[in-house]
């Protein structure tokens, strides 16, 4: 599989990273180089295996359904680029 400029721009949009046309064009051969290399995985017969979802077999622990954390609003907001009245602020979303 290979990408073209339009695909690169679409992927960048999905990843929410702004790239201009020049950057998108530069990325095409870079990404195609890498994608061409990873193509070789298609050679492997994987019909008999499941995808690996757990690296080391483990069970997902459960805990009691009680509140044992939180109540630290100021710490949570301490690194906010912009905040007001105990909220994170962002550009207006509602049209």
């Amino acid at each position: 599989m290979s990408v073209d400029t339009a695909t690169v721009k679409k992927v960048a949009s999905l990843a929410r990273i702004a790239i201009d046309d020049a950057a998108a064009e530069r990325l095409v051969p870079e990404l195609n180089n890498i994608l061409g290399w990873i193509e070789q995985l298609g050679e492997v017969d994987t019909s008999a295996v499941q995808p690996m979802t757990a690296v080391i077999p483990n069970t997902l622990r459960l805990r009691d359904d009680v509140v044992n954390d939180g109540d630290m609003r100021d710490a949570v907001l301490a690194n906010a680029p912009a905040g007001e009245h105990g909220f994170f602020t962002v550009p207006k979303v509602i049209e």
Binding site: R16, W37, I38
Partner: protein, 494 residues
Amino acid sequence: MSDITDLGVAALRDGIRSGAFSAREVADAFIVRVSQARQLNAFIVETPEHALAAAKEADTARAAGETLKPLAGVPIGMKDLFCTKGVQTTAASHMLEGFKPEYESTVSQKLWDAGAGMLGKLNLDQFAMGSSNETSYFGNVISPWRRKDGGNAALAPGGSSGGSSSAISARLCPAATGTDTGGSIRQPAAFTGISGIKPTYGRCSRWGVVAFASSLDQAGPMARDVRDCAIMLEAMAGFDAKDATSLKLDVPKWEDGLNPDLRGKKIGIPKEYRVDGMPSEIEVLWQQGIDWLKDAGAEIVEVSLPHTKYALPAYYIIAPAEASSNLARYDGVRYGQRDLPEGANLQEMYAATRAAGFGPEVQRRILIGTYVLSAGFYDAYYTQAQKVRTLIAQDFEKAWAQCDLLLTPTAPSAAFALGEKSADPLAMYLNDVFTVPSSLAGIPAMSVPGGLDAGGLPLGLQIIGKPLDEQGVLNAGLAIEQRAGFTARPEQWW
């Protein structure tokens, strides 16, 4: 005492305990050395006050006749991927420049609880993505090693834990934390002639470690010898309820269990690790390692790990895919940099913030990851890579029927010059060829220095073990260390 900085973790710990020197003397000596080595760019932030506070606590405790903590008064470096409360944590990225966590990572907290002090936050490849420490927003780290051809080409310290490897080999700290996702502890250790171990996945908590690829990331120690790695790993490891993948197991006494007698052990030599174009010096070192392990009493067997060559491409699908998910959190809303162009809406804020905050390699990997996870490609790429991952893990499981440990080179070359490979991402990725398979399988692996190449640069040997057999890995590492007699050190040019 200028030779205090030549001492390793065990010697410093024991010397402070016995009163041979004070923790204050130790902290002072390393603080001075750190301040004189800024040319290496190993540290992003220096924190002498933290090291001095730990030293004071150790000296006070000793004067009061108390039992000292396991690492009382030992100053270390902390890779700038671990959140340290109140101290800038950047992941070497502009995105987190100025970010001061409101909490401490589990692994760093365990080290402070053990009495260690922090000399500073160590530079690394940005978001742990890289093999040469050339992707940091805060500039390249320079290896203290130079080729003996008389030239002064700046060499790569390896990556992503390049600040850690550079600092330890330059004697700026006796040990440091690293993280290893595809080789980022082991390869820099090999490049700089030090030791480093990536434990079994789940041994060390990932809570508070800036996430790159969650199914691969593992914290681990880097130090100048195997004993020091064992001491550090004991302090760093352990169950953490805040990490869902943390193993609920007691931490073994790895230091006490060190035993370089390998009689009864079988060491597998995987034939697929003999790659085309591998420098003959690496072949020679590998054979040397085999001879050393035989001398230690081990039996050598040739084994096959048939899917080895697919490990790197599988990794470069899985790791970027997980990275694209993990780095989605950097959106300029709650922490980190925000870029808000005039009149921008929320989506434009995200896009501008992320374009400005992430370096080129990080962006490249996020884009690859996004692409392989996107609709229409998910099965062909990501699912296929996950299946290949199962096959790679099965290769190791089958090998354990014939051997207890594996011996391989750590890296396909000695350290290269900065700039030599940065033009081609693919050439850079090939550095990880020997380290990635054990990362994908989640099994423990360590690099120990084996010797020098013709250019006078360190070469490392890698020992890979069964899940949870860090002791076996450390023991084989110690057997090699005792026979390799590696005493080479970089000549100070800074």
